[in-house]
Subunit: 144 residues, 2 copies
């Protein structure tokens, strides 16, 4: 009786004036959300120390998703020849971090609107020839 | 009887010569992995359209995690005043994408080695005053 009263306003995550269509929120299986975020782990992968190849692959993967590339930033780490690459997109981002010494690469692909992050997978498979792939999907910004 | 024989080599995800200590893999609760990756959703958040504030917050959050900033790339979207910001780190990356029109921001914090991604949370809470936070953690590059 004496506790705080949870109002409808407090429970709502977004203002009542918010229109998910105008903000290009995704719609799938009856739910609305801001975007799809894939975490992709590649194992037994090759060419993870090839900077030009990583840059070309990111560019192709972004295009395959139907996304718009704003900038790619790449760094090579001298200790293990690993590469970090981040592509900033009009629809969020795509990143790759590689450990060539163990054939491992960690990627994430976060895209909003009508982009399809799964379209990046054939590009990544062709480019890095992984023996094993693990994928997790998160729907980011899931509306109540 | 006629199917492929799965060998120990095929089951192993990394070469036998690989040393996770040399590659600065994390160790926690008896498992080894490349890094921690947090997906952080902020709701009812403020100052999501303030580019200088977002840049300062990313810089402070990176430092709080104990990570080394290599570069920050920021973009503003004219349609909704949203901001995309990506910080490339020596230990992977941190990103933020904001939808000011609904008080929502999607962040991810991926750090390797001895960095602690959770140390970014107090910085984010102080900077954006979210009414609600959702967090998912992935251990990336989990060794068998």
């Amino acid at each position: 009786m004496g506790g705080p009263v949870m109002t409808a306003t407090a429970l709502n995550l977004v203002p009542t004036s918010f229109d998910p269509d105008t903000s290009h929120f995704c719609s799938q299986d009856g739910v609305r959300f801001a975007g799809r975020h894939l975490l992709v782990d590649l194992w037994h992968a090759t060419r993870l120390d090839d900077l030009a190849h990583v840059e070309e692959t990111l560019t192709l993967a972004v295009a395959a998703c139907g996304a718009t590339l704003l900038r790619i930033d790449l760094h090579r780490f001298t200790e293990n020849n690993g590469i970090s690459g981040v592509a900033v997109l009009a629809e969020s981002h795509m990143s790759i971090h590689t450990w060539p010494e163990c054939g491992y690469a960690a990627l994430d692909i976060f895209v909003c609107g009508n982009c399809d992050p799964y379209k990046a997978l054939p590009v990544l498979k062709a480019a890095f020839r992984p023996g094993n792939i693990q994928i997790a999907e998160h729907k980011r910004g899931l509306l109540p």
